[in-house]
Symmetry: D2
Subunit: 365 residues, 4 copies
């Protein structure tokens, strides 16, 4: 209600601040009997963590996860799973210069106006660091969905600033710091980032994220539609300004004769829907794209005001990602996994595990 | 939980099917003491209702709203407000041909797979007709927000199929059937729609919706962010495939030096943020855009399957909007109003009605 | 949130006032495929309705239920079921004398203080009449639970004022106006009520309610315990001042050697637990008792104040039950059914429909 | 939803097991600006903790609380407050003998049946130890309510087994290990406990808990009534089998002329209501009583079954409270505080902080 719990039946309650003693989350509603250790979670956190290339913040944070509860002898017990991540590199003095001013494009101003006070250290609660526990919770959801349905998640960067990134194959994603499904444009992207960093500026990105092996029938009409919940989950990631499902904004100029995905006994013939019709999964791949704005913490000076309302100029030093989108892919995958996990549990609450009346048509991918 | 209630503190529970005896909603959590009669609600329903121009479905439905509870001597009492709208024009036989087949791009298939059965009359629960009660509830929210803060809502169509609609002024919106903020392109739009209808095809649209006079501080980190909740609300409208806040997908190619809205003692100098930073309202106008896909019920034949999984061809007759986006503007305004209303109540729950520590900087519009 | 929705997964949203045009509820989350018509619901409403004996209010209200949505061709579709009950006998002038004063022991005062205004007609929203839609929703839950698990509900009055009512057998409950499981004391109870009515006074009652055929494993630790939710549901019935599970207050003076129900291969050897251990159902009968206070609307004069805070005297005429407990049995059964229904869905969300690791031990009844 | 979060607007998410590495909770929705340190919380935990007299478990656990988030420079920031309590004395081997059997009257059996597995160490999640984080969260609520309204909480044991404990004055509660509002019966209670312990048996208790300085108007009709939420909160405490508000079960035998609390310009003339009418607070003291069953873990042998369903005998050694009611008073106070806190926030969400239309009548205490 006050915004720190995600999900209805697979509920993740997030806590912590960027520079407090720890961040973490409590997962409530996880089915019992899932084999789970830190080793299932740590690899996803490692994909997201800072300090892994020169294009992301040099804050050096191991992000080691500890399971505090909810697991006994290697199996989930059905009770809350608390994941704890200690903050180890807090160098708060780097942020001293922003205590009394508001970075343009940053939540500094709104937090202060909403609550009347704010924790300025590293962005406090508004830091993208708070996505780490969600990536951890997402790893739990991913494991359960994989075992239950064979559902898998993947994502890639499709645009960096003005540069469109051609899709060359999913196998490339793990081999470059941008999560690009591409091998031939990496040097171009690296040069682009280097020049940005030199200029003290930042840039946006577009990320595509998908789920495969999705059961038919997930999503609730009228309001907890699967696509509406995906939009909610992805728009809630720091710096996201737009969300598309399937054909997204391209569907505006499409005709009905073109857009509607035809059904055949072998499956859907196309996937403009992005795997969701009427808010309910079709069994096709669920496909979403997000727009990420440029980082607001930049070295270049911008006009702002101070807490007294007086004009001032803000330049932000410290260790900031020049493109927050670079680390957004595993985050978006995790959020998509959390949405599907929640809807899988909701579905079986109302409709049970019973067999559906006919065999599913094979899903088009 | 099962998807029929919208909102946390200003909760709207929607019920009904397109061709059942009635549709409606129950609003729980409305503040007491608001002057309210059907006359406050009916005009908004009239803006949305079918049969008002040749470009929308000719289903002739007066959509007369009746307040069944929650109001005593013209004032809300703080108890649930039930709005009832009788269905009067149900011509169900028009849909007889779709009982056993699935329209490509339509929820026919997913409803049937999820529940094992479906009400096919007029799309049943998946019909856009179910947005009518939300427009009714939105009218209540709009009245309260207007009185409390001076908040107002407006929207317009900015693209119809391939045609960009130039913004000429809000005053034009009420004078054409497209909700276009434009006077000079109307004939072009009408010709376009006429040819589409003749071709038995349909097309998408892009809608822009705004709130003005928004208080600073609405929205909850980490998950019930104002923009995330707007994305959820708008993506949940029938046929929506994309949502943008502020600069939206344009922000991908922006630099940080360009995107971040500078603050001045006179207010923000621009509004790339769309009125939301860190998930919390800035006091600027809240601005969102949505992509609406083309109607899936079209006369042109498309390949599909029947309930036995056998191939077939579907052509949909009956009275359908060739562009569902045409009537989407008042719906999107209503959903935006419901989100802001809910967050206004949430904010005062946690932070009270107390004065904020400094005078707000004037909002840039 | 504002108190008009009951349940988490089988959600019942209640609306209406005693003397408005209608009362009703919207049930969201009902599993699809349940055969349902008004004939499944009306008999339970008839058990609760006024005017059936001289010991209850003579308000003559048929309480005819109408299903407005969620059912197609006699089967639930998984979408919201709206139940509507028109108010037909509203004789509001009977209550004219209470507009400006507050009945001692009644919600008149608190409603007015909470909301700043109130609907005084027939108690408005605080009327026990609002339990009718819950009895209707309870009938839906009962039918589903009966089919799924063989669960049944029953209840009886065990005390009327000072008179303990001996348990002679469940078969007697339907044959007297008190829902007494007793045939020999009925004349005594009738005389007692007649003298009360003559005296212009009222009296309390104790009701026992049970569920049989309850699956093992319903209830969530730590907070949504089955017994906690039962306490919540029953304490929320108008005029209830106490709730017991199993041995209840008797357990205070019991020793551990006496209280703990021993387990045998044939089942539990006793049922002090009332069918719940650690907040989770044991498979035994779930047994609860409630205390109902005497009706506050009585003819005998009592001291009170008026809206200006001045002392006055209140005597309530009009048609009131001299013992609200008389009609409480079917209400308590319905609320218990709604709790179990909700927990049945919650359980299968987290734990699935899968078989449990060993055969259940037979339940002691 | 899965039972680990308490409250709607002041939400407390509890995690941990009796013998895991830590227990704790996350408080979401706390108003910003409240001065808060561990020193505000630790004294309440100390009132509840084990090892403080020979009549409670000798488990020696300091229960030191650590604030991990949500506080900056000594003030709450409005973001989640994580309270962590490390488990230091876990001697799990004491419980080895209960791994394969089920203690009569204990949650061993139901946990195992619900989830298919259980954490047996110290009762795992079903341990009363999990009330410690709630006492911590309650301390936060108490501080805020005290500052906002002057609300205070107090409680006492009113019955131990067969022994009624006379009320001699609140000042005695802190001076004996039983939380008895009594000085003259302490020796009797100590002898009683000593003989029980010698007999290897346990006994129940009755606890009374009160709030003073309660604002008028808290509580939501129809379902989130203040008394219903109190019943839910108190019945959810380990081992509670009954809850009463005000006159409770005594009201069954009362007449309307006796029960209804008369209003005078100086306040209510009595408090049979226990401070709640129609589910809404009257401004009087809120008064509730609970029945606590005898501890199920006792040395005396009882019949049971093992996991294979075979008959066996269970004797529980280890360190158990012979009367869990002895430490229940601060827990019940905390749960009552959490309910009132939540309703205070809910009330101002819907009704605002605005002045009520007339001065309150003074509350009778």
């Amino acid at each position: 209600m006050a915004g720190s719990t995600f999900g209805e039946l697979f509920r993740v309650t997030n806590f912590g601040e960027s520079h407090g003693p720890a961040i973490g989350c409590v997962i409530d509603g996880c089915p019992p009997g899932l084999a789970l250790t830190e080793a299932d979670i740590q690899p996803e956190l490692d994909r997201r963590r800072p300090g892994t290339s020169r294009h992301v913040t040099q804050r050096n944070e191991p992000d080691t996860v500890e399971i505090l509860s909810g697991v006994y002898e290697g199996l989930t017990t059905g009770t809350p799973i608390c994941l704890l991540i200690r903050n180890t590199d807090q160098r708060s003095k780097d942020y001293g210069n922003i205590l009394d001013t508001f970075r343009p494009g940053h939540a500094d101003y709104t937090y202060w106006r909403k609550y009347g006070l704010r924790d300025p250290r590293g962005g406090g609660r508004s830091s993208a660091r708070l996505t780490a526990p969600m990536v951890g919770a997402g790893a739990v959801a991913r494991k359960w969905l994989r075992q239950a349905y064979g559902t898998e998640f993947r994502g890639c960067m499709t645009q960096l600033g003005e540069i469109d990134i051609a899709f060359e194959g999913w196998e490339h994603v793990g081999h470059n710091p941008f999560f690009a499904a591409n091998a031939s444009q990496i040097a171009q992207l690296e040069d682009y980032m280097d020049s940005l960093r030199k200029a003290g500026d930042s840039v946006g990105a577009r990320i595509r994220v998908e789920a495969t092996g999705v059961p038919v029938g997930l999503g609730e009409p009228l309001f907890d539609k699967l696509d509406a919940d995906i939009a909610y989950a992805l728009m809630g990631i720091n710096a996201v300004k737009g969300v598309e499902i399937g054909a997204g904004f391209r569907s505006v100029a499409q005709r009905g004769t073109e857009h509607g995905d035809e059904l055949t006994p072998e499956g859907f013939a196309s996937n403009n829907a992005g795997g969701v019709l009427g808010g309910i999964s079709t069994g096709q791949d669920v496909v979403a794209s997000i727009a990420i704005k440029p980082t607001s913490s930049i070295r270049s000076p911008k006009a702002s005001i101070d807490r007294a309302g007086q004009p001032t100029t803000v330049e932000t030093f410290g260790r900031h990602d020049p493109c927050v989108g670079i680390r957004a892919t595993p985050i978006a995958e995790a959020m998509l996994a959390l949405v599907l996990m929640d809807h899988a549990l909701r579905h079986r609450a109302q409709c049970g595990d019973v067999a559906l009346p006919i065999d599913p048509i094979p899903a088009h991918r």
